[in-house]
């Protein structure tokens, strides 16, 4: 069975290094730094170049899109921003549904 050492809730806001983030997303460190330069991603600690685990799913998804859709860097960064906005909207929608007794949607 999987154990405590092996698991991480991505929304737990655990600090991860740039190396770990790059590895998770199949990117190079340089590519992650580029995203930060474009303003598409913000380290939680700029001096230590660590990131919140909350960005992992988004970076992975954008990296897949970049590879599969053959996107250039500007488009890659833009996709990241849109994914962040989509995440925020989906979260807000869930909260509103719950408060207003609307049926749950995925």
């Amino acid at each position: 069975m999987t154990t405590e050492r092996d698991d991480l809730w991505l929304h737990a806001r655990q600090e991860i290094s740039i190396v770990e983030l790059a590895d998770c997303a199949g990117l190079s460190e340089a590519e992650v730094r580029e995203l930060v330069e474009f303003g598409a991603l913000s380290p939680s600690d700029i001096t230590r170049w660590t990131f919140s685990s909350t960005c992992v799913a988004r970076v992975r998804s954008a990296a897949r899109l970049r590879q599969d859709l053959e996107l250039d860097t500007a488009a890659f960064a833009l996709v990241m921003r849109f994914l962040e906005r989509i995440d925020e909207l989906e979260q807000r929608l869930r909260h509103l549904s719950a408060e207003r007794q609307a049926p749950q949607r995925r």
């Binding site: 698991d7 991480l8 929304h11 998770c24 408060e99 995925r106």
Partner: protein
């Protein structure tokens, strides 16, 4: 081996230029990519399109594919023509007895004569990550649970610690595909979906529950029992409570990862019986006559505006 018509998959002519093939791929890839398109079957369709493109975008692979012949129907069982293998396939010493039946068409183009043979160089290849959607009940999320996951190649027992909520992900390190030549194994990501619950609605780690009150309970105040995932609690309803009021029951929501809990919010609803006895009707009538309450006072100002 089943035939696949890669040109038809991309919607292009067999004589299409490299540019036309690229454009066709991009259009279909954008449409069906599972990170964009959340409909059922999108991922399947995308994989088909990607496979077709991988073969047709490479001039050597495309030539080899074209040489398989034409006139086959998609899904039809077929074999490459006798010369094909000698011309294109690099497996030393002929087929060596391996059966075409066991192959997928895409496997034929993995290694062609004249292409780089990376398999000989022991290049480390990290294991593939898997992403699986998993449905949990609120109770599973509340207490933590253990799931048996069928990943095709194997089944694993995954421990789901407390901290789950709708739309969040759990990463299980090293539970993905095997890494090759010393590279690390891939990870397993569980994408959590909470099943609807008859009472509670999650919003992050908070929970919402409707709290129906009779008109006299809301007007006069009352003590009511509210169920929580952690047993029932008694709640004091102040007199003069109105509909829609959110009443917080601290720490009775879902556990957060790393400790702490969300809250449970009871949303007051004032409900009326649909069938009244004569006695009840009489009492209501009396109340209506006695009360000076005007629920639609604010309409008065607006009504005079259409002169």
């Amino acid at each position: 081996m089943k035939y696949k018509d890669y040109y038809a998959t991309l919607g292009v002519d067999r004589k299409a230029s490299a540019d036309e093939i690229k454009k066709a791929y991009r259009k279909l890839a954008q449409k069906h990519h599972p990170d964009v398109n959340k409909e059922k079957g999108a991922e399947e369709k995308f994989k088909e399109v990607a496979e077709a493109y991988q073969t047709l975008k490479d001039p050597e692979k495309r030539a080899a594919y074209d040489q398989l012949g034409t006139g086959f129907q998609p899904g039809q069982d077929f074999r490459p023509p006798p010369d094909w293998e000698r011309q294109f396939h690099t497996q030393g010493g002929g087929t060596g007895g391996f059966s075409f039946e066991d192959l997928d068409l895409s496997d034929l183009f993995e290694q062609l004569r004249g292409q780089q043979r990376e398999a000989r160089a022991k290049r480390p290849i990290p294991g593939q990550d898997y992403e699986v959607r998993v449905q949990l009940t609120l109770d599973d999320a509340y207490r933590g649970t253990q799931l048996d996951l069928d990943l095709g190649a194997r089944t694993i027992k995954a421990r789901i610690p407390k901290g789950a909520t709708d739309g969040q992900r759990l990463r299980l390190r090293g539970q993905g595909g095997k890494g090759m030549n010393g590279a690390r194994d891939g990870d397993l990501y569980l994408d959590i979906e909470l099943r609807p619950h008859p009472l509670y609605r999650p919003a992050g780690h908070d929970l919402y529950v409707d709290l129906p009150l009779a008109p006299w309970e809301a007007a006069l105040g009352a003590t009511v029992e509210v169920p929580t995932l952690d047993g029932a609690v008694n709640m004091k309803i102040p007199e003069g409570t109105t509909a829609g009021r959110k009443m917080r029951i601290a720490k009775k929501g879902l556990p957060k990862p790393g400790g702490g809990e969300g809250d449970l919010y009871a949303i007051v609803q004032i409900v009326n019986p649909t069938v009244l006895s004569d006695e009840e009707k009489a009492l209501y009538r009396q109340l209506g006559e006695t009360s000076r309450f005007d629920p639609r006072g604010h309409f008065a100002g607006e009504k005079t505006n259409d002169d």
